[in-house]
């Protein structure tokens, strides 16, 4: 207790240092005066009395020192003293300080900026109550639909009926909520407003969705279980963002009627500002509707189908219940539910029944589709920025070493005078810490700007819609990361100069002058340059590999024409169309657009390339029926007449979809080369029949084979898969609930010289029906290039960081060479006096420089192979050990090194021998 009190007194004592010194001085004075007075009374002369008093008091300075040490906390005070000293020294070298802080800021800023993304995409939980209690069904993301009664690997998507079975029987969850796996768009307009409908992303949620997340309303109320009953008055909840941006936070929005796909619903509340739903994605939902409103709003209701699995589940576990026990219970429930539908199951589903199982995984981060998508991308960027930071450290360490060399004499003098080694080491370390913390502070500003820029490019948001819910402004974990990175960086580049400081021999101070006997300090500096060269090579070759991969992606043979093609995307479903009305609508849209001057032809389709396609199984007439484990999958597209000519995909055999294919003529299909090879091998597919069911049926007759075109249904590095194209006129319009009936892309071919304003396309569609929302119009080239946004950003960022690292490495090489040449000035003088030519001297210096670079390349080369492997899937099939790229990187590095060493070499060669020999 007493010790504690004393500690606090000492801790705060430095505020009163000056006062205390004065007080002690006064007390001593008084003491001596008392003693002197007494001595005088004893008969001594005043002078002698004073002298005796002082003698009796003892060593004044030693006493003061003890007093001071007792008074405060000397270690803390000297730390502050050292920091002040270091600050003064840095102020005296403004260029060095500015250059170092800026370099550090670039390195720390780049790393922090990528970490902001890593934190948001890979680490962060949803902004909901106690995210650690949440568990979701499924280990992987299997968006968006599964049909039938079996799922491969794991049962991760469920139908509404199966959800209710889980919800009502699983005791381990206090709440189990459901929402669709895929994202939906609603055509929304406020009732009574004459303006055209806008499409907004939204989702259907179970009645307990908000309660499960622990999310209360910002205004109004949230959806409850009572709203999610069949026959309940249809309601919707709006996002805070939309309420603010589109309706100016107008309170009258709550309680008013909005039309969703032309169906009236009452908006009952506003979600709180930070809430972005269950999934981090670039288009967070703006509306939440109860699941039971789905049949009312959507023309193709999924809610009532037992075997259409489209819902994700997230539940909040009860306290004390382990996820493993819930999992076990749900597995039993799954089997019970499947067994109760045994009669409806096909033989394939029945065969797969024993292996059906499910898994729970932590659900605090929600549905992590973005995590899966961006993980590797972010890892690469994190690695790249880490390398940049290492190079920055090496550069700054180099600068610090030079400073350390300059301070050598001072250091050795301090040591000779008895300075403790600890204090001597501490000085450069404190200096590096101050520098790196300053660099970190500036770096946070750079990170903020950088993150905003990257977000803008990586997750472009459509005008009027919300962007991805990633905040560029630094949060607590980001600040902590920047702080720790700065500290680690500071130690990393401060340790070498510090170690050098203690190795200083006190005798050097006595020897004086710069004629040092050792060349310590050059070896660590050379090592750093070698390291920089190696890392630069790795970054440059990574940048080269990624650029080459992007190049091959963008310039591949797509199998369709990109010039003079426009694509307008619409959604007639959002205007409340019924399937029976669609065929006529398409015809009218087609004719309306085709009559625009400059348009040469128009076709509508479900998906235009490089978008995907719908999936289906295929069975060929005359071939044995495919077994349950055979791969008979193909994707397909629905197109109007003349589509292949409009998009520019050549027909290799037979004919394309044309006007002669009508609802009443025989059903036909055009297949691509991959389809022909997969299902017909060497046989001629023309005139053959295939069907989309498991049992062989002759549903479609093949009338043509089209060249493979890139429809990226899978990863970008997969070759073109099997695909077939069906005429729109032969669609199953009698079925009322097929999503594939709603064509969304209008492909427009324009004349070679014509320019068609986008507004005239909008007008042409509005002339048919102003209620159809057009979500985007762009050229086909833009549509293709937007598919590679991430790849382009990765390649550009890596190139940028590669260039930065090259610049830093060149500065490092220049520094070491210039310094080395400077130290060898005597030697150069002697050589020249003995007859060496200038050329020899240039060679001498260059040889030293290139030795370092070669060594760096030697170390960097194997690293580039390792990194090439790590880049892996981001290279889209291009060779990760591309010798051309590595060679180019090495050449660029070599050239920069040459430029960086030529200057000091020529400067050295221009020294006159006399001057060189005279120099100290």
């Amino acid at each position: 207790m007493r010790a504690l009190r004393r500690f606090f007194r000492r801790l705060t004592s430095w505020t009163t240092t000056h006062q205390d010194e004065e007080r002690l001085q006064a007390e001593i004075e008084e003491h001596l005066a008392f003693q002197a007075a007494e001595n005088v009374r004893a008969g001594l002369s005043p002078t002698e009395a004073r002298r005796q008093a002082a003698l009796k008091f003892g060593g004044l300075e030693a006493m003061k020192q003890t007093y001071r040490e007792q008074r405060g906390l000397p270690s803390l005070e000297s730390l502050i003293q050292d920091a002040g000293h270091a600050l003064r020294r840095l102020r005296m070298a403004p260029v060095f300080t500015a250059a170092t802080v800026l370099t550090l800021a670039l390195g720390i800023g780049a790393t922090t900026s990528i970490f902001t993304l890593v934190n948001a995409v890979l680490l962060k939980s949803l902004p909901v109550a106690n995210p650690a209690e949440l568990y979701r069904l499924g280990r992987e993301n299997h968006c968006c639909y599964q049909s039938g009664y079996s799922q491969d690997k794991e049962f991760s998507l469920v139908s509404y009926d199966l959800y209710k079975y889980f919800r009502d029987n699983t005791q381990g969850f206090s709440e189990l909520a459901a929402f669709p796996s895929g994202q939906l768009l609603f055509g929304v307009r406020r009732s009574g407003n004459s303006e055209a409908a806008q499409s907004y992303p939204g989702e259907f949620v179970s009645g307990n969705y908000f309660e499960m997340f622990g999310i209360g309303p910002y205004a109004g109320r949230m959806i409850t279980a009572d709203d999610d009953e069949p026959g309940a008055p249809p309601v919707a909840v709006m996002s805070y963002r939309l309420w603010r941006q589109a309706y100016g936070a107008d309170p009258s929005v709550i309680g008013s009627i909005f039309n969703f796909n032309e169906k009236p619903l009452t908006v009952i509340g506003i979600t709180p500002p930070g809430f972005f739903g269950d999934t981090l994605r670039s288009t967070p939902p703006d509306f939440f509707l109860p699941l039971n409103a789905e049949p009312f709003v959507e023309s193709d209701a999924d809610l009532t189908k037992y075997d259409t699995h489209w819902l994700e589940l997230i539940g909040r576990s009860r306290p004390g219940v382990t996820p493993a026990s819930i999992e076990t219970q749900m597995r039993v429930e799954l089997k019970q539910w499947l067994r109760s539908h045994w009669g409806e199951m096909g033989p394939g589903d029945q065969a797969k029944f024993p292996e059906q199982t499910l898994f729970l995984s932590p659900g605090g981060a929600g549905i992590t589709s973005m995590r899966d998508q961006y993980q590797h991308w972010l890892q690469i960027l994190m690695m790249v920025t880490g390398f940049v930071l290492l190079i920055v450290c090496a550069n700054v360490a180099n600068l610090m070493l030079v400073r350390g060399m300059g301070r050598r004499r001072q250091t050795s003098l301090s040591m000779a005078l008895g300075a403790r080694a600890l204090r001597v080491v501490r000085e450069p370390i404190i200096e590096s810490m101050l520098l790196s913390l300053a660099g970190g502070a500036v770096g946070i500003a750079i990170a903020f700007a950088g993150t905003r820029l990257i977000l803008q490019f990586a997750f472009p948001s459509l005008p009027g819609l919300a962007g991805v819910a990633i905040d560029a402004s630094p949060s607590l974990p980001v600040l902590l990361f920047a702080f720790v990175t700065s500290l680690v960086t500071g130690v990393a580049f401060g340790i070498a100069p510090a170690l050098m400081a203690v190795r200083v021999d006190p005798i050097e101070a006595l020897r004086g002058s710069s004629r040092a006997t050792t060349r310590t300090g050059l070896l660590p500096r050379k090592t750093l340059v070698v390291l920089q060269a190696a890392l630069s090579l790795v970054l440059l070759s990574s940048a080269g590999l990624l650029a080459a991969a992007l190049e091959s992606l963008e310039n591949q043979n797509f199998g369709f024409e990109q010039d003079h093609r426009l694509v307008a995307t619409m959604n007639p479903k959002l205007a409340g169309y019924r399937p029976a009305q669609l065929s006529l609508l398409y015809k009218r849209i087609h004719d309306s657009i085709e009559s625009i001057p400059g348009v040469s032809s128009v076709a509508l389709c479900l998906y235009s390339p490089p978008g995907g396609g719908w999936g289906s199984g295929v069975s060929v007439e005359g071939h044995p029926a495919p077994g349950p484990n055979d791969d008979n999958s193909s994707s397909w597209d629905r197109v109007t007449a003349g589509y292949f000519q409009v998009i520019g995909t050549p027909i290799l055999k037979g004919r394309e979809v044309s006007e002669e294919d009508t609802a009443t003529s025989r059903k036909v299909a055009v297949v691509n080369e991959a389809f022909a090879r997969k299902f017909f091998g060497n046989e001629d597919p023309i005139g053959r029949h295939f069907g989309r069911t498991q049992v062989a049926s002759g549903e479609f007759e093949v009338i043509g084979v089209a060249k493979n075109a890139r429809y990226f249904t899978q990863d970008l590095n997969q070759p073109s898969g099997a695909m077939f194209f069906l005429p729109e006129t032969q669609a199953e319009y009698a079925q009322t609930n097929l999503g594939s009936l709603f064509l969304r892309d209008i492909v427009i071919q324009t004349g070679p010289e014509a320019s068609v304003p986008f507004a005239s396309i909008r007008q042409a569609v509005a002339a048919v029906d102003p209620g159809i929302p057009i979500s985007s119009i762009r050229t086909l080239r833009e549509q293709v290039s937007s598919r590679f946004t991430q790849q382009r950003l990765l390649a550009r960022l890596t190139s940028l960081f590669g260039a930065l690292s090259l610049l830093l490495a060149s500065i490092g090489i220049y520094g070491v060479n210039a310094y080395d040449a400077g130290r060898r000035i005597n030697e150069i003088g002697v050589r020249m006096a003995l007859g060496a030519s200038r050329g020899h001297i240039v060679q001498l210096v260059l040889r030293g420089a290139f030795g370092l670079i070669l060594f760096g390349l030697f170390i960097g080369l194997p690293l580039t192979f390792v990194v090439g492997r790590f880049l892996g899937s981001q290279l889209y099939g291009t060779n990760p050990y591309n010798p051309g790229v590595t060679l180019a990187a090495a050449l660029v590095l070599g050239f920069s090194a040459l430029v960086a060493s030529v200057v000091p070499a020529f400067r050295a060669s221009r020294i006159s021998p006399l001057e060189a020999l005279r120099a100290k």
Binding site: R2, A3, R5, R6, R9, R10, R23, L24, A26, E27, I28, E30, H31, A33, F34, Q35, A37, K56, F57, G58, G59, L60, M63, T66, Y67, Q70, R71
Partner: protein, 115 residues
């Protein structure tokens, strides 16, 4: 004797406390004189060593100090015992007496006494 100063300081602290207990508020010189009178030569050479001890005791809260006037009208810093200092003195006196008694008995015992 590495710990000589520590031992000295500990002893001095106790003497300071006892002095203030007996004589009441007193300035540094007065404390030094009193200790000198009673202990003989402990402080004869190094009166100055008293001040770090006074500081430590004050930091611990055992004594308090303020500027005042001495008996012969000189300005002086007067130290006085605090309540916690009195408690500490009592505790340490007891401990010191016990230690002294034990050590005393130990030295009094002769080899033959414990047969």
């Amino acid at each position: 004797m590495k710990d000589k100063t520590a031992v000295l300081q500990g002893t001095l602290a106790l003497m300071v406390l006892k002095t203030l207990d007996v004589l009441g508020p007193l300035h540094g010189y007065g404390i030094a004189r009193r200790i000198e009178q009673i202990s003989g030569d402990l402080l004869t050479v190094n009166q100055g060593t008293l001040y770090p001890v006074l500081l430590k005791l004050e930091q611990e809260g055992s004594i308090a100090s303020e500027w005042g006037t001495s008996e012969n009208n000189r300005r002086a810093r007067l130290y006085r015992l605090t309540r916690s200092g009195r408690k500490q003195l009592r505790a340490e006196t007891k401990g010191w007496e016990q230690t002294a008694a034990i050590i005393g008995r130990f030295f009094a015992v002769k080899a033959g006494d414990l047969k």
